[in-house]
């Protein structure tokens, strides 16, 4: 790691002064590889080492933060002194304790580049072979070997090793002067050996098929309708609709529609919502959070009853709650905030076939591309792909991607069928503490009265 324990001690001593009641040093080394392949060959490579230090000082309800890349002690001490206020702290800090290690220590992977290149090329070849209407396939391989260390004035000294690999496949299809798009993006907490067990060709064909289907599909009708969202990354609907509104940064200042509703019925009794950073091998998992608190499983909503919020140290302090292992940041350039890890709806009892058969008219959504939410109002939106109309209890004609909007509170109460086919998908979540790897999942779920933004 870029800083020795002695240097960390000196930085904590410099930062923890005057009105400070907590100080923390966050160190990071992240060996990143991003490789992009297209039909024409390898299109771009970004390889290197993200390395830096963040220093945080808390004083009551105020936060001061500084960061610098590299590990230059002089620079870091100067920043620490900028954050400090004059005088001695009211309570002396505790000496750093015995280091606690999470994750698996690893050695740099041999042939890292070759494995990445081979995986990306396989995706491009399989996607292009799917149909003559496929005009382009872009395969983006992301591999990260990240070591973080957290030390604070409460004596914590903890480190985590995280290895992440993801293959994002974008396929484009053309017909009649139009282009449409399909996507698949599997990923895991693991090294490049994750690709060995991954059916890359199946994912590439899935993306290509989605693009080809969309380019022949008609526009989606607009208006309020019943929507069946397929399993997997469809769970992003609940990530947006209510997950963000349960994060301390929204709840602490009363900026969430769920503020002050612990113990109340906020969703259909069919809904149990869980955030779990401990799921083995999942993209959104980690050994500890970015404040050194062990990752944990948090049941947020159980059978419709609001059970807990997600809290980091500072957000938890503002709302009088302990950390739930949810303090996360993209890298050392961001102070941590409470964020989701792997968030999913627990499985129910219906089969996906039963749910579709029970729906006379509506929209089936096979995949979700992305979305956002205003936690205050709960107003959310998400863009969906791989859609089909449901007519007389059967899947009908495909329609082009569209946007679903609504309010989190409303959607939670409008869930009336939950499937038994739970699975998780992988993605990124963007917010104040940066872009984070997250898992989002659900079984097939039916929701009534969602507003569909259509063109006809």
């Amino acid at each position: 790691m870029i800083l020795s324990t002695a240097t960390i001690d000196r930085i904590l001593d410099a930062a923890y002064a005057g009105d400070a009641d907590f100080a923390e040093v966050f160190c990071e080394e992240d060996r990143q590889l991003v490789l992009r392949a297209k039909v024409s060959g390898t299109d771009g490579i970004s390889a290197g080492l993200v390395s830096g230090v963040g220093i945080r000082v808390l004083s009551g309800d105020t936060c001061r933060y500084a960061y610098a890349d590299g590990g230059n002690e002089e620079t870091l001490l100067k920043l620490a002194r900028q954050l400090a206020s004059p005088g001695a702290p009211a309570v002396p800090r505790r000496p750093l304790g015995t280091p606690v290690s999470y994750g698996v220590q690893y050695l740099p992977e041999p042939d890292r580049m070759k494995a990445a290149l081979t995986g990306a090329r396989r995706a491009v070849d399989a996607g292009m072979a799917f149909s003559g209407e496929v005009t382009q396939v872009v395969a983006r391989l992301v591999n990260s070997e990240r070591q973080i260390l957290v030390a604070n004035t409460e004596g914590l000294l903890a480190e985590d090793c995280r290895r992440k690999t993801r293959l994002q496949i974008s396929a484009y299809a053309g017909f009649g002067g139009q282009l449409q798009y399909g996507y698949s993006g599997p990923g895991a907490m693991g090294g490049l050996d994750y690709l060995d067990g991954l059916d890359i060709e199946a994912h590439a064909r899935h993306a290509a098929e989605a693009a080809v289907t969309a380019v022949h599909a008609g526009p989606c009708p607009g208006g309020t309708m019943t929507v069946v969202v397929g399993n997997g990354f469809g769970g992003l609907m609940f990530h947006e609709a209510c997950g963000h509104s349960l994060e301390a940064s929204s709840v602490a200042k009363g900026n969430s529609e769920f503020s002050g509703k612990l113990g109340q019925q906020v969703a259909s009794p069919l809904v149990t919502l869980i955030d779990d950073g401990t799921v083995p091998g999942q993209w959104g998992s980690m050994g500890m959070d970015d404040e050194g608190t062990p990752a944990q499983r948090n049941v947020l909503i159980e059978k419709g009853i609001l059970k807990c919020y997600m809290a980091d140290r500072f957000g938890g302090r503002l709302m009088g709650a302990a950390s739930t292992g949810s303090g996360r940041r993209q890298n050392y350039r961001f102070p941590p905030e409470a964020r989701m890890t792997n968030t999913f709806i627990a499985a129910g009892e219906s089969t996906p076939e039963e749910i579709i058969a029970a729906t006379e008219r509506g929209l089936y959504v096979g995949n979700i591309f992305g979305g956002s939410v205003n936690p205050l109002t709960g107003d959310f939106n998400f863009n969906v792909l791989e859609c089909r109309l449901i007519e007389n209890g059967r899947l009908g004609a495909p329609v082009r991607g569209t946007t679903l909007i609504g309010s989190g509170g409303e959607i939670l109460s409008q869930v009336d069928m939950v499937g038994n086919d739970l699975s998780l998908g992988q993605g990124y979540c963007y917010n104040n503490s940066g872009a984070l790897f997250i898992g989002a999942g659900q079984p097939t779920v039916r929701v009534n009265n969602i507003l569909v933004g259509g063109e006809r």
Partner: protein
């Protein structure tokens, strides 16, 4: 920095690597936040990172580096060799232009106490605007100084410096059980008067408290300049030559992409532009380019003609832009509304990153705004979506405003006027009071 370049270059030569080109980004920033009359957040940032391209036996290798320790040089050299082999493309040599260095060497931020006072005054102005204002949120000022230095390892260097900042503030208004928020971000070169911007934000939140239902229909609409900027940003990759060559964009020079009044420029020397650059991230001098004039696509953006930019320090250069300008028209926004008479004013959209696809031109976005009757702003509408095809939308423009909104992102800056379009597809909750 010079010491690092010299020592890295010497070690690289010994390791058998050829010509090196350094792209070095130095960023100093400060973020100050105020809540309830006191400073509650303060952040200092200091970054000095390098992106290095190397000639590896005629092939191009590249890495990014944030840790300058010589003990890591061997690891960097290995990465350069690996990336060169994987990319398998010829090394792109670079002749840096002769440019004088920018004047100021050190960032000059406003005194911290002055920033705190100005933010506190802005927060107070927002809170005092109307009794229905519940609270202010995210009242923050970011200041930055970014210096891009390119060096070819033989002693020649060239520099660009960007200084500026942005003011962020949110207002929460409440009436009965209905709460509405307005979030604004104002990017600047010189810090403006903040209280006026805070009052505008407060007015936006209060304006949303008088609501009306919005049925699904195709209606005339005025798109606020900030909305136009966001849409233009989402669809700009369709103007990249490489995307057209790789069959990810259907645009071809000579095709009509808008009404004759539409003119779009890429202008790296735009007066007052927030992202003026004299050379791109491969060291090629930048020039002004006319992308669209008379509504016809005239040219596309190429990497080789001064439009190779990095989205961040870790990324390899790809097609990008400095300042994109959609040239304004002559009517004020009020005149656009009067000309429209009946319709919608769209003041905000969300989820553009997912709901707008440059390759197809399609967009489907949650939106908010106001009903317009007799050319006047009436009740607010929310929980609606707008959808269509961006390039078709530009062919339905009736008039361009004389206002210019700004949208600054890591890729560059966009400026565009408000647009009055004769037909926009809107989906809403028919008959449901919001």
């Amino acid at each position: 920095m010079k010491k690092f370049i010299d020592s890295f270059s010497a070690a690289a030569r010994e390791a058998g690597l050829g010509e090196l080109i350094f792209y070095i980004l130095e960023t100093h920033s400060r973020l100050t936040g105020v809540s309830e009359g006191k400073r509650d957040f303060l952040q200092y940032g200091s970054q000095k990172a390098a992106y290095i391209r190397a000639n590896v036996n005629g092939l191009e290798g590249s890495i990014f580096v944030e840790d300058w320790r010589p003990s890591l040089f061997e690891e960097h050299f290995r990465s350069l060799r690996e990336t060169a082999a994987a990319m398998n493309k010829p090394f792109k040599a670079c002749t840096l232009p002769e440019l004088s260095d920018p004047a100021a060497e050190k960032p000059e931020f406003l005194p911290l106490e002055e920033v705190t006072e100005r933010l506190t005054a802005a927060e107070q102005a927002l809170l005092s605007y109307d009794e229905r204002i519940l609270r202010a949120e995210h009242c923050m000022l970011r200041e930055y100084c970014r210096t891009v230095t390119m060096a070819d390892g033989s002693g020649r260097t060239v520099k660009d410096r960007l200084t500026g900042g942005s003011f962020m503030i949110s207002a929460v208004a409440k009436q009965g059980s209905l709460a509405r928020s307005e979030e604004r971000s104002y990017a600047f070169l010189q810090c403006p008067e903040l209280t006026e911007l805070a009052i505008r934000t407060a007015a936006g939140a209060v304006g949303k408290l008088e609501t009306a239902p919005c049925p699904s229909a195709v209606v005339p609409a005025v798109l606020d300049s900030r909305v136009v900027c966001e849409l233009l940003d989402a669809f700009l990759p369709a103007f990249y030559q490489k995307n057209a060559e790789e069959r990810m964009s259907t645009l071809i020079p000579g095709m009509t992409v808008g009404v004759p009044a539409i003119r779009i420029l890429e202008d790296p020397t735009l007066p007052g532009g927030l992202n003026c650059r004299r050379f791109d991230d491969e060291g090629v001098p930048t020039t002004c380019k006319e992308l669209v004039s008379g509504g016809v696509l005239r040219s596309m953006l190429h990497m080789d003609t001064g439009n190779a930019f990095k989205s961040d320090i870790t990324a390899d250069p790809s097609t990008g832009y400095s300042n994109i300008l959609m040239c304004p028209g002559e009517k004020t926004r009020e005149e656009l509304l009067l000309a429209m008479g009946e319709g919608l004013l769209i003041t905000g959209v969300s989820g553009v990153f997912a709901g707008a696809h440059f390759s197809s031109g399609a967009f489907s976005l949650i939106a908010q705004g106001y009903r317009i009757r007799e050319g006047q702003r009436r009740e607010s509408v929310s929980q609606i979506t707008i959808s269509g095809n961006f390039f078709e939308l530009l062919t339905k423009v009736e008039a361009l405003g004389c206002d210019l909104g700004r949208y600054l992102n890591p890729a560059g800056c966009l400026e565009a006027p408000s647009l009055y379009v004769r037909a926009l597809s809107v989906s809403g909750k028919d008959g449901i009071e919001q």
